[in-house]
């Protein structure tokens, strides 16, 4: 069987000597680029920097809460920490990193040479990046250039009227508003680009019914961004008008309504969760089949479920407001809408299960992360069902149970799937594999840390611990639990440091990957690693959902069956 294994070294595409260039030239290159791959990478790099910053904030929060009556940070500092942590993680880590992957992968997967609007793409990236910088500039210039710095301390959902000029004097709240506003412009721009690219630049034969599920999910995500970010932007304009021109949108003294802000914010806020989680589904949809060596089970159902989740997610926002006093009728409606969303979500989980069933599962690091994703997302979904039962939510909302629940979604599902995606597509981006052993250390430390933190975080919520408190009394039964949670946080941090080290080290010392290291089936694996600036030398034509399967199995192509 001498011909079994082509020797990968034979196609080493990484040039060994590169002409040295001036730093300035390199910078100029990146600043002026309109290439979707470079912009995608910039998105990811910038998100990773903010991930580390927001991670440090999380660690400071956990040190403060590790023991009761702690004086590690002052209440003001603590309130700023959780505000910045939440805002950063949602707007300057979650969205950009997922848009980065989308930018990089969507054109490659649909056989396009670039995004539909390359310059708009660059603009969207830069404006979100400047938004992040503006937010952190508040630490220096929170009261304008005249006074001492003060970061916003209003919580990431900035409930009115705490944001009113009376209760938040100075400019710290404006920093929050304006930074998120800028990031919103960038998000809409990128989403617009992704949707247009998907609809208008598909290669020949790439019908909608043949698009990789990742592209489908990014399409739905893009649609959600339009309808979700718009309301937030509108609400922020109102808030700015209130603060700068003295209007009364959220001014309760002049008859304004605090609840209106809650509605507007959560009309954005809940779809936002799906904006973040749909790409995570997208990664899992690509990775699980490849490592189970099977086609995705129930492709049409998966597409329908994704679109269904997109639509239903627009009608569930007020489940964040069960304790606001919506009245029995309002509560009942939102209970129903929220519970219904578990049906398409369930379909997804079952279809992944069926994809794995009967396969030959290879537990490489990307797949390990996806397996962890499946379990953790299952638990996150089930705690979500608990929260959707409004009376249960009257106890749990704004408690540590909710914190644990949404971190289960954001960390246990999204971040975990993202790590899988990093290990999976790294070889495509750099031409080199990430180190497996380090990857496994990263995996286990991260997963164990995660479960220490967020499994135990549910319990203080059941025992009456509300969110956003900078300290608590001893004797409430929260002490040991919080200590475990804090320690788990640090275990996770170590895992992530290993990941970052692996990311940097493998860039120069990883094994050469070749263009298709995972024996995968979608179009991005048909181009060299790293892909040339034009992606495809010849524009491809596809006949099925898995074009590379057809190439690899000419005697038994997918196109016969779809």
């Amino acid at each position: 069987m001498a011909n079994a294994n082509p020797v990968w070294e034979a196609i080493d595409e990484t040039p060994t000597t590169r002409p040295r260039r001036l730093v300035l030239e390199v910078v100029h290159d990146w600043v002026t680029t309109v290439d979707h791959k470079k912009i995608g990478l910039m998105y990811i790099a910038y998100a990773l920097i903010f991930l580390v910053i927001a991670g440090i904030e999380a660690m400071l929060i956990r040190i403060q809460l590790a023991v009761p009556n702690n004086h590690f940070v002052s209440p003001q500092v603590f309130n700023r920490l959780f505000t910045m942590h939440g805002t950063t993680m949602v707007f300057f880590v979650g969205m950009p990193i997922l848009f980065g992957f989308g930018n990089y992968l969507v054109p490659l997967m649909i056989g396009a040479r670039d995004m539909a609007f390359p310059r708009l793409n660059a603009f969207s990236f830069w404006i979100s990046a400047f938004g992040g910088i503006l937010l952190y500039f508040s630490y220096i210039g929170g009261s304008g250039l005249y006074g001492a710095g003060s970061a916003p301390d209003i919580g990431w959902f900035a409930y009115a009227p705490l944001t009113a000029k009376v209760f938040s004097p100075g400019h710290s709240t404006d920093y929050w508003t304006l930074a998120v506003f800028l990031s919103g412009i960038g998000s809409v721009g990128t989403a617009l680009n992704i949707v247009t690219t998907t609809l208008c630049l598909r290669c020949k034969g790439m019908k909608l019914s043949r698009m990789p599920l990742l592209v489908w999910l990014y399409l739905v995500q893009g649609g959600l961004v339009f309808v979700a970010v718009g309301p937030l932007t509108a609400a922020q304009i109102m808030l700015l008008l209130d603060r700068y021109l003295g209007s009364h949108f959220f001014d309760t003294q002049a008859g304004g309504s605090a609840v209106l802000w809650m509605h507007f914010f959560w009309i954005f806020g809940h779809p936002e969760v799906y904006v973040l989680v749909l790409p995570a589904f997208a990664f899992v949809n690509e990775i699980v089949p490849v490592f189970s060596r099977k086609a995705i089970f129930g492709y049409p159902a998966m597409v329908a479920a994704s679109v269904g989740i997109g639509f239903i997610s627009l009608s569930v926002w007020a489940h964040h407001m069960f304790t606001v006093g919506l009245g029995a009728a309002g509560n009942t409606f939102f209970v129903f809408a929220t519970m219904v969303i578990s049906v398409p979500t369930g379909i997804k989980i079952f279809n992944w299960l069926a994809t794995i069933w009967g396969g030959k599962i290879i537990f490489a690091v990307p797949m390990m992360f996806c397996v962890a994703f499946l379990f953790q997302f299952l638990i996150a979904g089930l705690t979500g069902i608990m929260l959707s039962a409004a009376p249960f939510d009257w106890q749990l909302s704004a408690s540590y149970f909710v914190i644990a629940h949404f971190h289960y979604v954001l960390v246990g599902a999204i971040l975990t799937a993202l790590f899988g995606a990093f290990y999976y597509w790294y070889p495509k981006v750099t031409g080199r594999m990430m180190n497996e052993t380090l990857g496994k250390w990263h995996f286990w430390l991260f997963i164990i840390g995660f479960h220490l933190t967020f499994d135990f975080m549910h319990i203080p919520g059941l025992l009456g611990m509300p969110r956003r408190i900078y300290t608590y009394e001893a004797g409430r039964g929260w002490d040991n639990l919080n200590l475990i949670v804090s320690i788990g946080g640090f275990v996770q941090a170590i895992g992530i440091l290993i990941f970052v080290y692996n990311l940097i080290r493998s860039r120069t010392q990883g094994d050469i990957a070749g263009h298709d290291p995972w024996d995968a089936w979608t179009l991005e694996w048909a181009v060299p690693s790293p892909p040339p600036s034009y992606n495809f030398a010849v524009e491809p034509t596809v006949n099925s959902r898995r074009p590379l399967w057809d190439l690899k199995h000419p005697e038994d192509p997918d196109s016969d069956y779809e």
């Binding site: 049906v343 290879i362 009257w394 059941l462 608590y472």
Partner: protein
Amino acid sequence: MTPALLQRRSRFATPARALFCGMSLFVGTAFAKSPALSPTNMFDAAATPAHSIVGLSTLVLSVTLGIFLVVGGLLLYALIRYRHRPEDSTREPAQIYGSNQIELSWTVIPILIVVMLFLSTTRIILGTEAIPKPASALDVTVIGHQFWWEYRYPKLGIVTANELHIPISDPSKPTPTYLEMSSADVAHSFWVPRLAGKMDVIPNRLNTMWVDPPQPGLYLGQCAQYCGTQHAKMLLRVYADTPEQFAAWAAQQKQSAQQNLTNPVAAEGREVFLHSACINCHTVAGTIANGRFGPDLTHLASRDTIGAGPIKNTPENLRSWIDDPNIMKPGALMPSMHLNQHDLDVITAYLTTLQ
């Protein structure tokens, strides 16, 4: 690449084993000193709304646990059963695209579960929010302030702060307490887990909730909606009294502050108090102090705590609090009045007489 990976399966297990051992050891020791039962455990329900929530929670928890066991078990089984073993051939497994019948089944079963959960949830919602208020109910107006609670009993003519007294409710002739809630500044949330779920306290809006604890006792809780710097120390103390205790307490609270002080130190303290800025924010019934911005002090000494819960009401603590509230509760809106030591002493002496 892939096959080489499979050979190194043992390496994959090593970090896992080491870390798992560490974790179980750690969790074991942490729980060896089993934490005392929490005074704010939502499952330890002490009133009807909390009880019905516990009932619903149990149902939801068992349903979700069942789903978790079934789906998680299947997932685990599939992962083990269908893992790629080193001795397996590298041939691709059968490619299966889907199955209408199984997909239909796992769409319909969740819908059925949802319908069932929805019906039971609706019933609890209606049973808590949409039932008529009995005539025997006691009304209390709750007003949230940055970082303390104001309680007004309109029918009894009582105004107090931070410590809510309610009568117990005998299930055979219920006397529930209805809380009408609003806020003077930003949004807060009233949460006493053993009595009921939380209800937000929002400015320019009136929310209602009710509680009916059958057993006397002290029920703890705290503000559950982020409301600014000292959100953490905006605690709730609800005292459920027997009817006799409650009547006695109400009678005492209705009185004005004592006018003829026998203690000369306290009398001097009163003069200092009434001539300082204290009266701009605080009320002491029967004197010229009628500020509304801070808590009513008429019966301050009858309360167990100061500073909205976190500080025991002792003369030393009270003195320290008056000296500079920001030491015990940084961010509290009461400013330090920069009183001299003598004035501090006499004001403290005066305030301790406000029974």
